[in-house]
C-alpha cells in the first residue's frame, strides 16, 4: 500500500507532520483501551521522541472513538488508517501484510529512526512491551528486533517446524520468530527493504518483505536482537486450509533462499541472538490436535501424491514415507532427519521449478500434517520445558542436514540416494 492510496484524511494528517522519530503501525485489531495502553507506554520512551501511531481501523468501521481513546499531543499523533482496505476478506494474512508496507512507507516519508508493527494481541505481556520493540531503534543500537513469545505446544507450528529452524540453519541466526509478526525495524534496514522491493528484489507482497528480513539482516550485516513479548494469541488453525498457508508463506521463504544462496551457503554455524528482556514462562493451555485425522491426511497424500513427490524427493525419502504410512497410529513418528530432508528437497524443487511452484508447495500439505501428527503424538504428555528442547532438537537437525541441502543445491542431480 502506498501512502497516496491511503484515506485522504490520513494522508493530510501525515502531510502536516514534518518529521518524526518512530512510526508504530497497529495492525492487530486492538480495543481502544489497548491502543490507549500502547500509546501510554510509548510516551514513556526516553528522550521524548516524536511518534506517529497508525491505528488500523477498517474503512467500514464507523464506531466513534470512545472515551478510552488516547489523548494526542505534540509528541504522539494517532492516525486512524484503513490498513486492510486493499485486502480481500478471504486472505487475512495478505491483507495484514500490506499494512507492513504502508507503515514502512510512512516511516520513510517522515524520515523516522525506526518503525514498529504490532500485529498480535498479547495475552500476558506487560503493558510496556511495545517499548521493547521501539527502544533499541531509537537508541540506534539495533536494526531488527524480532519477537520472542512464550511457547505453547501447538501454537505457531509452521514457524516452529519450518520457518524458524530453516532460517536458523540457512542464515545462522537463532531467532524464534524470524518473520514477526510483531517487529521493529531501523531506518537503515527498512530503507534497504523498500529499495529492494522497488528493484523487484523482494517481490510484491508483504510476505516477501517479511521473508527477506532475516536474509537481509545476515547478508547486510545488520544488528539484530529479540524482544520477549509474552504469550501470543494465535488464531485457531484451520486445518482444511493449510495448503494455501503453506503456499503463501513458504513461497517467499524459498524465493529468498534462491536470491541469497551465495550468502547462506557460506554460513556454517549458527549463533544465538540476544533476547533483550527476561523470558517468563507462560501458562500452558491444553491444546488439542486430532492426530488420527492428520495421519489419515498423510496417508491419503502417500496414496495420491506419489507421482508429484517422486519428482521432488529422492528414493530413500520416498521409501521411508511409504513405511511410515503403514505404521499403526501409536507408532507413527516422522524422524527429524527425514522431515528436514523433505523441506530441503522441496526448497530445491522450488528453485529448480521442477513443477509449478504453487502446486509444489500445496503438495507439501499432507507431509506437514504428518509432521504435526508426529510432533503432537510425541508431546501429548510433555511438560512445558520439553517444547523448547523438542524444537531445539529439530533446529539442530536442520543445521546438521544443511550439507545435504548445499550439496543438492549446488549439484542438483536427480541420481542421488
Amino acid at each position: 500500500m502506498e501512502v497516496d492510496s491511503a484515506p485522504q484524511q490520513a494522508v493530510q494528517e501525515i502531510g502536516q507532520i514534518n518529521s518524526a522519530d518512530l512510526v508504530v503501525g497497529i495492525v492487530a485489531d486492538l480495543s481502544q483501551e489497548n491502543v490507549a495502553e500502547v500509546c501510554g507506554a510509548l510516551r514513556t520512551l526516553p528522550g521524548n521522541p516524536r511518534i506517529v501511531v497508525l491505528q488500523n481501523r477498517l474503512a467500514s468501521d464507523s464506531t466513534p472513538a470512545d472515551s478510552a481513546a488516547p489523548a494526542q499531543d505534540s509528541s504522539l499523533s494517532l492516525i486512524p488508517w484503513a490498513l486492510h482496505t486493499q485486502s480481500l476478506p478471504t486472505t487475512p494474512p495478505g491483507s495484514m501484510l500490506a499494512a507492513y508496507q504502508s507503515t514502512l512507507t510512512v516511516g520513510a516519508r517522515l524520515g523516522v529512526r525506526g518503525c514498529c508493527v504490532i500485529a498480535s494481541k498479547l495475552e500476558h505481556a506487560p503493558s510496556k512491551w511495545v517499548c521493547q520493540l521501539a527502544e533499541p531503534l531509537l537508541e540506534a543500537s539495533c536494526d531488527f528486533i524480532a519477537p520472542s513469545y512464550a511457547r505453547r505446544k501447538f501454537d505457531g507450528l509452521l514457524n516452529g517446524s519450518i520457518i524458524s529452524p530453516l532460517m536458523r540453519s540457512l542464515y545462522g541466526l537463532r531467532i524464534q520468530n524470524p518473520m514477526g509478526p510483531d517487529l521493529g525495524i531501523s531506518q537503515r534496514l527498512f530503507q534497504k527493504l523498500l529499495d529492494g522491493n522497488q528493484n523487484g528484489k523482494t517481490g510484491g507482497s508483504g510476505m516477501h518483505l517479511l521473508a527477506s528480513l532475516v536474509p537481509l539482516v545476515l547478508c547486510g550485516n545488520f544488528q539484530t536482537s529479540q524482544a520477549y513479548l509474552g504469550a501470543r494469541s494465535y488464531p485457531p488453525t484451520d486445518w482444511t486450509n493449510v495448503s494455501s498457508l503453506l503456499s503463501e508463506i513458504l513461497g517467499p521463504v524459498f524465493l529468498a533462499m534462491e536470491k541469497n544462496a551465495a550468502c547462506w551457503q557460506r554460513t556454517r554455524t549458527s549463533s544465538p541472538v540476544k533476547v533483550l528482556n527476561e523470558p517468563t514462562s507462560a501458562p500452558q493451555t491444553a491444546g488439542t490436535v486430532e492426530i488420527d485425522r492428520l495421519v489419515h491426511s498423510f496417508q491419503l497424500g502417500i496414496r495420491d501424491l506419489q507421482e508429484i513427490w517422486g519428482l521432488v524427493l529422492p528414493p530413500a525419502s520416498l521409501l521411508e514415507l511409504r513405511k511410515l504410512a503403514r505404521l499403526p497410529l501409536e507408532q507413527f513418528h516422522i524422524p527429524d532427519e527425514l522431515w528436514v530432508r523433505i523441506i530441503y528437497d522441496f526448497a530445491l524443487a522450488h528453485r529448480l521449478r521442477t513443477i509449478n511452484r504453487d502446486h509444489l508447495l500445496r503438495s507439501l500439505t499432507p507431509l506437514y500434517l504428518g509432521w504435526v501428527a508426529s510432533y503432537a503424538r510425541e508431546l501429548e504428555t510433555a511438560e512445558e520445558n520439553t517444547i523448547e528442547h523438542r524444537l531445539e532438537r529439530l533446529a539442530l537437525a536442520y543445521e546438521m542436514g544443511k550439507p545435504y541441502l548445499v550439496s543438492r543445491w549446488r549439484w542438483p542431480d536427480r541420481f542421488n540416494p
Binding site: Q331, L396, M400
Partner: protein
C-alpha cells in the same frame, strides 16, 4: 525518448557477470523467414535465464548490407528489418531486464558501411568540407605506410580508391568499411549521440569494436594511440555524467600490456577482452603443460579495481592466433586445424566442441578454467550444448549456424523451408541437430547443458571468481595447474589436470595450514591442510574446486551447535546412534568424553573426528555396545569399544554427582531428561554382559554380530555362589575397564580394539584349558565381535576367575619399600655395601649376603617366589604341543643379531634426543644425563659385542609386558595377570614368540623402578638427600633382582629356551635390559621427566 535506468543494482555488476554471446540472426526465427529475430529471441529468454547467464551480448543487429556479418553498419539508430523493429528491440530489452539479464550491444564506431549516409555524403562532398571530413581521405595510398593489414586474406591495402570522391579512403578492415575520422569533433559528437540513443533506451553495456584503430598518425602503427585514448575518455565521461550502472567493453586484440591503457585510471573502458589467454588455454591443454597459461597470466598487468577482464574460449570470430609467436601459431595450426579449411586469417574457425574432438571431459575442463580464471566469462551461443561447426561455409560462417533447439525441422530454429534459412543447419551424424540440440539435452540429466547450468549456478555463488586475486602454485608436476583465488575472507583453491591421464600432485599449502577445504560441487569436506605437502590425485582432465574455511569454524561447526543441548533419545538406540543425533554425538560429546577417560590411550593426539562403525543393543538391558573409530589430526585411526546406557530422572542426577567423568551427554527421552553415560556404571548392563558369556548368546550388530563364549572353567569358578552376583568396578584399571562379579569373576572390557586373536584370551585359555597352569586367573569366557564385511573377529572382553589377593605386585612392593627406607634412612651406610653392587648375574650366582638379608628381609623371599612363578609360567608356555601358536621355535644367532641391531638403532636415537634435551633437564637429572651421554660409545660397543655372541636358544610365547603391576600378591606367592602384551604394539607382535628373558628383564627393570620411585616419594615426604639414601636403593634393587634371577634359573633347570651358560644368559638378559631401559628413557623424556633419573641410573648401574 525518455531515458531509462540500467537494469543492474550494483555498479560493478559486470565483475560478476556471466555473459552469453549470441547473434539475433542465428538464435530463433519467429516469423518463418529463415532468419532469427527479436521476437524469436524473446521466446528464448526463459531458456537463457534458466541456463543462468546474467548478461546477453548481441552481435550487430543494425541496418547493414551484411558484408561483414553486421559489422558494416549503415544506420546506427535502427534495427535491421530482418530482425524486427526498434519496438521489438525495446520489447526484448524490457523482457531481458524483467529476468534480471543485462544487455550488451555493439558500438561499431571505428568504421561504417560504405552504404552509411555519412559515407555517401562524404564521398560526394567537397574535399575539406565537414561532411567529407567524417572519414579519412588521402590523395595517395602511401600515407601511414607500414601499418599492418588485418584481413590479410582479402585486403591488399588499408587504402581503397573511391572513384566518386576521387580519393583514397582509409579502412583497417574490409574495403567496404571506411574508417571514421576521429580528428573531426563532429564525428565524436555523432558517435556520442548514437551511444546515448541506446543507453537512453536502457541498454546496459556497449562493446566498443576495433577500439585500437580509431585514430591514425603518420609514422606509427596507427594502433593504441594517445589520441584514441582521448576519444575513449570522452565517451566514458559522457556515460559517467549521465548514466549509472553502465559498462564499456573494449575489443582490442592486443597484448595485455597494450590493452591495459584501455582501462585508463578507471576512466576509459570498464572491461576489455583478454585475447592472448584464449589460445594459450588450448595450447596448455594440447601440450599437457601449464606453462602457456601461467606465463601469459604472469604477463598480465594489474588493472584498476573497477575494471575487469572479459574471458572467452570461443566467439563469433576465428580462434585468433595474432597474439602468439610464429612457432606457437604453427603448433596451434597443427594441433587444432588438421584440415586447412579450418584456418582463416591468423586463426582457426572452429567451435569449442570440435576443437577438442568432442571430448566431454576436455570441454568441462576448459569451462572450469574459463569460470575460475580472474575475469568475467563469455559463453558463445551453442557451446553450452557442444554444437559443431561447418568448415565448408565461407568466412567465419561455419561457427555462425542456426542454434540447434530440437530435433525438429531446421533444428527447431525456424519453420521456414530449409532453403530459406540464412545458413544451413548442421546435419552430419556427429554434430547434426538431431544428435545435439537443446530439447534433448534438457531431458537428459547428464547432458552437457545440465552440467553447464550447474556450473554457472555454482560460479555465481562465489564472488571470488569475478573479483578475487589469483596466485598460482608451483607443483612439480607441470601437467597440473593449481591456483588460489582470494577475495577478502573468501578463498578457493582450483586444481586442474591438463593431461589425458590421471595425475598425482603434491601442493605446498603450508601457509594455509589448518584450513579446511570443501569440494565445491558436492560440498564434500577434504582433509585439513597441514605443513606437509597436500597430495591430490586427479582423474584425466579432472578439475577440483575447493572452498577454504578456517579449521576452527569447521571443527566447531558441530560443537557450537550441540553444546548443552540434549540428545533426543527416541524409541530406540537408532535415534542417537544413527542420523542427526549420532552426528552430534560423534562431533561433540564423544570428542570431549574420550580424552577424559583413563582407558583412552591417545591423550597426546588431537582428535579430529569420531565415527560410529557399528553398534548392537544388549538384549537383556537397555544398553548398547558401540564400536567407534577415532580419527586424529595425524596418524592412523583407532577403534574403541564404548558401552552406552541411558539413565533418567533422579538416578541420573545421582550418577552425575557420583561419576561425572562417566557422563557422555544429556538426553531427552520423550518428556524425561536424563544422561547418556558409560554403561559400565549400570549393574543391569554388567549382568547382561555376563549373561552373554554364560549363555553363549549371539546378538546382532548393525554390520556384524557379537557373541559370548563360555570357558570350560566357568562353572568351577562360579561354584555354588548365589546369583545374581554383586557388581563392582575396579578403579585401578587403566587401559581397559574391569567389572567384578561378587568374589567369582572379573570381566575385563577391552577398550582399544584390534581385529585378530587377543593374546590374553589365547594364553589364558591355553594355560587354563590345555595346560592346567594355576598361577594365572582361570579363563572363564570371552565376548567377541565379528563384522559381516570381512569376518575379522576382535575380542571385546575376557572373563576370568577372580583371585583373592593382597594387591598387585607393584603396590605391595612399594609398601614394603616404604618400610625399608623408614628403617634404613637413620642408619649409617654400611661399609661393605659396595660389595653388594655388582652385576646382577654375579650376585645371582650366590645366595643373598647377610647385609641384604638383614635389611631387605622378606622381600628377598618374595623375589625368589616371583622368580619361581615366572619360571613355571615359561615352562608351561614352552611345553611340547601341537598348537602352532605355542610351539617353541629356534632363536638363531641371526635373530639375535637383528634384535641387537634394533636395540642399537633405538639407543642411538635416544642418545640424540637426550643430548638435545639436556639444556631443559632439571638440575638433579642433568648430571646423570651427562654421565650417561659420556658412556655412549661404551654402550654401543657393548651392544656390538653382544651381537657377536653365538647363542642358540628358543623363542616361546611369553607374557610380553611383564612387571610388578602384572602380578598379584597371593599369600606368600604370586599370580600372573594380563597377557595382553604391550598395548602400543600391534597384535601380531604381541602374539609373536620371543625370548623368555625379555620377561625377566622386564621384571628386573620393574624392581629398579620400584626402588627409585619409592625413594623419590620418600624424599618428598622426608626432605633429605637423594644421594645419601641412594646406596640403600641400590642394595635393595641389586639383591632383589639377583634373588629373582637366581630363583628363576634354579626353577628352570636346563631348558632349551634359555641359554644354559651364565655368560649366554647374561648376554641375552643384558640385551633385553638395554632394550627396556632405552625405551624407558624415551618414555620418561616425553612423559615424566621427574622420573627420568630412574632409567638413567639403570644405564649407569649396568656392567658395561
Amino acid at each position: 525518448m525518455a531515458k531509462r535506468h540500467g537494469s543492474a543494482a550494483d555498479p560493478l555488476w559486470y565483475k560478476d557477470a556471466i555473459i552469453y554471446e549470441l547473434h539475433v540472426r542465428a538464435f530463433k526465427d519467429s516469423n518463418d523467414d529463415g532468419i532469427g529475430d527479436f521476437p524469436g529471441l524473446i521466446q528464448k529468454l526463459d531458456y537463457l535465464q534458466d541456463l543462468g547467464v546474467t548478461c546477453l551480448w548481441l552481435l550487430p543487429f543494425f541496418p547493414s548490407p551484411l558484408k561483414d556479418d553486421g559489422y558494416d553498419i549503415s544506420d546506427y539508430l535502427g534495427v535491421h528489418p530482418m530482425y524486427g523493429t526498434i519496438e521489438d528491440f525495446q520489447a526484448f530489452l524490457n523482457a531481458a531486464h524483467d529476468r534480471s539479464l543485462q544487455v550488451v550491444i555493439e558500438l561499431v564506431i571505428n568504421h561504417t558501411s560504405e552504404e552509411h549516409p555519412w559515407f555517401q555524403a562524404a564521398r560526394h562532398a567537397a574535399p575539406g568540407s565537414p561532411q567529407r571530413d567524417f572519414y579519412v581521405w588521402s590523395d595517395t595510398d602511401q600515407k601511414y605506410r607500414g601499418v599492418r593489414i588485418i584481413f590479410s586474406d582479402t585486403e591488399k591495402s588499408n587504402w581503397t580508391w573511391d572513384p566518386v570522391a576521387k580519393a583514397y579512403y582509409w579502412h583497417r578492415f574490409f574495403s567496404h568499411q571506411p574508417d571514421l575520422n576521429y580528428d573531426n569533433p563532429r564525428v565524436v559528437e555523432e558517435v556520442i549521440k548514437v551511444m546515448r540513443y541506446w543507453l537512453d533506451m536502457g541498454v546496459d553495456a556497449l562493446r566498443v569494436d576495433a577500439i585500437p584503430y580509431l585514430v591514425e598518425r603518420e609514422g606509427t602503427s596507427c594502433e593504441n594511440l594517445p589520441e584514441t585514448h582521448a576519444v575513449i575518455k570522452r565517451l566514458r565521461e559522457e556515460i559517467d555524467a549521465n548514466y549509472s550502472d553502465r559498462m564499456l567493453l573494449a575489443e582490442a586484440n592486443q597484448w595485455p600490456t597494450d590493452v591495459r591503457p584501455y582501462f585508463g585510471d578507471g576512466d576509459e573502458c570498464h572491461m576489455a577482452f583478454h585475447f592472448p589467454l584464449m589460445p594459450r588455454i588450448y595450447m596448455a591443454l594440447r601440450q599437457e603443460d601449464r606453462l602457456p597459461i601461467t606465463d601469459i597470466i604472469a604477463e598480465t598487468p594489474s588493472i584498476p579495481e573497477t575494471c575487469q577482464w572479459a574471458l572467452f574460449l570461443r566467439n563469433h570470430d576465428e580462434l585468433t592466433l595474432e597474439m602468439v609467436t610464429d612457432d606457437e601459431r604453427d603448433y596451434m595450426y597443427l594441433a587444432y586445424s588438421a584440415d586447412p579449411r579450418m584456418r582463416i586469417n591468423l586463426g582457426i574457425r572452429r567451435r569449442l566442441a570440435p576443437l577438442v574432438d568432442n571430448n566431454r571431459r576436455r570441454i568441462e575442463l576448459l569451462i572450469s578454467l574459463l569460470f575460475s580464471f580472474p575475469g568475467s566469462p563469455i559463453l558463445y551461443y551453442g557451446d553450452e550444448i557442444g554444437m559443431g561447426d561447418n568448415i565448408y561455409l565461407g568466412d567465419r560462417n561455419g561457427v555462425r549456424t542456426p542454434m540447434q533447439w530440437s530435433g525438429d525441422r531446421n533444428a527447431g530454429f525456424s519453420s521456414a523451408t530449409p532453403a530459406r534459412l540464412y545458413s544451413p543447419v548442421i546435419m552430419d551424424p556427429v554434430w547434426g541437430y538431431e544428435a545435439i540440440n537443446v530439447e534433448a539435452q534438457q531431458s537428459d540429466p547428464s547432458s552437457l547443458l545440465n552440467w553447464m547450468r550447474n556450473m554457472i549456478a555454482l560460479r555465481k555463488l562465489f564472488r571470488v571468481f569475478g573479483r578475487g586475486s589469483i596466485e598460482f602454485l608451483d607443483p612439480a608436476n607441470r601437467k597440473v595447474l593449481a591456483y588460489l583465488r582470494r577475495d577478502g575472507d573468501e578463498q578457493v583453491l582450483c586444481v586442474a589436470n591438463l593431461s589425458r591421464f590421471a595425475q598425482p600432485v603434491d601442493l605446498d599449502l603450508s601457509k594455509l595450514e589448518g584450513m579446511l577445504p570443501i569440494e565445491m560441487l558436492g560440498y564434500v569436506e577434504f582433509p585439513i591442510f597441514e605443513q606437509h605437502p597436500y597430495r591430490l590425485t586427479l582423474a584425466p582432465y579432472g578439475f577440483m574446486w575447493l572452498e577454504l574455511h578456517p579449521r576452527q569454524e569447521a571443527s566447531t561447526a558441530g560443537v557450537g551447535l550441540t553444546e548443552n543441548s540434549p540428545l533426543a533419545f527416541g524409541n530406540n538406540w537408532e535415534t542417537i546412534l544413527e542420523g542427526t543425533e549420532s552426528r552430534r554425538l560423534e562431533t561433540s560429546y564423544l570428542m570431549k568424553f574420550l580424552p577424559a577417560q583413563r582407558w583412552f590411550a591417545a591423550k597426546s593426539r588431537q582428535i579430529k573426528a569420531t565415527r560410529i562403525l557399528d553398534w548392537a543393543v544388549l538384549q537383556t538391558s537397555k544398553s548398547a555396545l558401540v564400536l567407534l573409530e577415532v580419527q586424529y589430526n595425524a596418524g592412523a585411526p583407532d577403534t574403541y569399544l564404548l558401552t552406552l546406557a541411558v539413565t533418567l530422572g533422579e538416578r541420573a542426577e545421582e550418577l552425575r554427582r557420583a561419576a561425572p567423568n562417566a557422563v557422555i551427554a544429556p538426553v531427552v527421552v520423550r518428556e524425561n531428561s536424563g544422561l547418556l553415560h558409560d554403561a559400565v556404571l549400570d549393574d543391569e548392563t554388567c549382568h547382561a554382559l555376563l549373561a552373554l558369556i554364560e549363555n553363549e548368546e549371539q546378538i546382532p550388530a548393525r554390520h556384524g554380530a557379537i557373541r559370548g563364549d563360555r570357558g570350560k572353567a566357568f562353572q568351577d569358578v562360579l561354584g555354588s555362589a548365589e546369583t545374581p552376583l554383586q557388581v563392582r568396578r575396579d578403579s585401578a584399571e587403566q587401559s581397559n575397564t574391569s567389572i567384578l562379579f561378587g568374589d567369582r569373576f572379573i570381566l575385563k572390557v577391552f577398550r582399544r580394539q584390534e581385529a585378530g586373536v587377543n593374546p590374553e584370551c589365547e594364553i589364558g585359555r591355553y594355560l587354563t584349558e590345555k595346560v592346567g597352569f594355576n598361577r594365572v586367573p582361570p579363563f572363564a569366557g570371552l565376548i567377541e565381535y565379528t563384522p559381516t564385511e570381512n569376518g575379522n573377529t576382535s575380542t571385546l572382553g575376557i572373563l576370568q576367575g577372580l583371585v583373592a589377593n593382597e594387591g598387585d605386585g607393584w603396590k605391595w612392593t612399594i609398601e614394603e619399600l616404604d618400610r625399608y627406607y623408614e628403617t634404613c634412612a637413620p642408619l649409617a651406610i654400611p661399609g661393605n655395601l659396595n660389595s653388594e653392587v655388582g652385576g646382577i648375574m654375579e650376585l645371582a650366582e650366590r645366595p643373598p649376603s647377610e647385609l641384604a638379608r638383614d635389611h631387605v628381609g622378606i622381600y628377598l623371599d618374595a623375589a625368589a617366589a616371583l622368580g619361581r612363578c615366572t619360571a613355571e609360567l615359561h615352562l608351561a608356555l614352552a611345553l611340547p604341543t601341537d598348537d602352532p601358536a605355542f610351539l617353541p621355535e629356534p632363536l638363531s644367532a641371526d635373530d639375535l643379531k637383528a634384535l641387537i641391531a634394533d636395540v642399537r638403532q633405538h639407543a642411538l636415537a635416544v642418545f640424540d634426543i637426550l643430548k638435545d634435551r639436556v639444556p631443559s633437564l632439571s638440575d638433579e637429572v642433568i648430571e646423570i644425563a651427562g654421565a650417561v651421554l659420556t658412556r655412549r660409545r661404551r654402550i654401543l660397543q657393548r651392544l656390538e659385542a653382544l651381537g657377536s655372541s653365538d647363542l642358540r636358544t628358543q623363542r616361546i610365547r611369553i607374557h610380553g609386558d611383564y612387571h610388578l603391576g602384572q602380578v598379584l600378591r597371593v599369600k606368600t606367592d604370586f599370580v600372573i595377570l594380563d597377557f595382553e602384551g604391550e598395548p602400543a604394539r600391534s597384535l601380531a607382535y604381541r602374539r609373536s614368540k620371543q625370548s623368555a628373558l625379555k620377561d625377566v628383564a622386564g621384571m628386573v627393570r620393574s624392581f629398579s623402578y620400584a626402588a627409585y620411585a619409592s625413594l623419590i616419594a620418600y624424599i618428598a615426604r622426608h626432605p633429605g638427600d637423594f644421594e645419601t639414601l641412594q646406596p640403600w636403593a641400590q642394595l635393595w634393587e641389586r639383591s632383589v633382582s639377583a634373588e629373582f634371577v637366581r630363583a628363576y634359573r634354579q626353577t628352570l633347570g636346563k631348558v632349551d629356551f634359555v641359554p644354559a651358560s651364565t655368560e649366554g644368559f647374561c648376554t641375552l638378559l643384558d640385551t633385553f635390559l638395554l632394550e627396556k631401559v632405552f625405551y624407558e628413557v624415551r618414555y620418561e623424556l616425553n612423559s615424566r621427566p621427574t622420573w627420568l633419573r630412574i632409567p638413567l641410573m639403570g644405564i649407569l648401574s649396568m656392567s658395561l
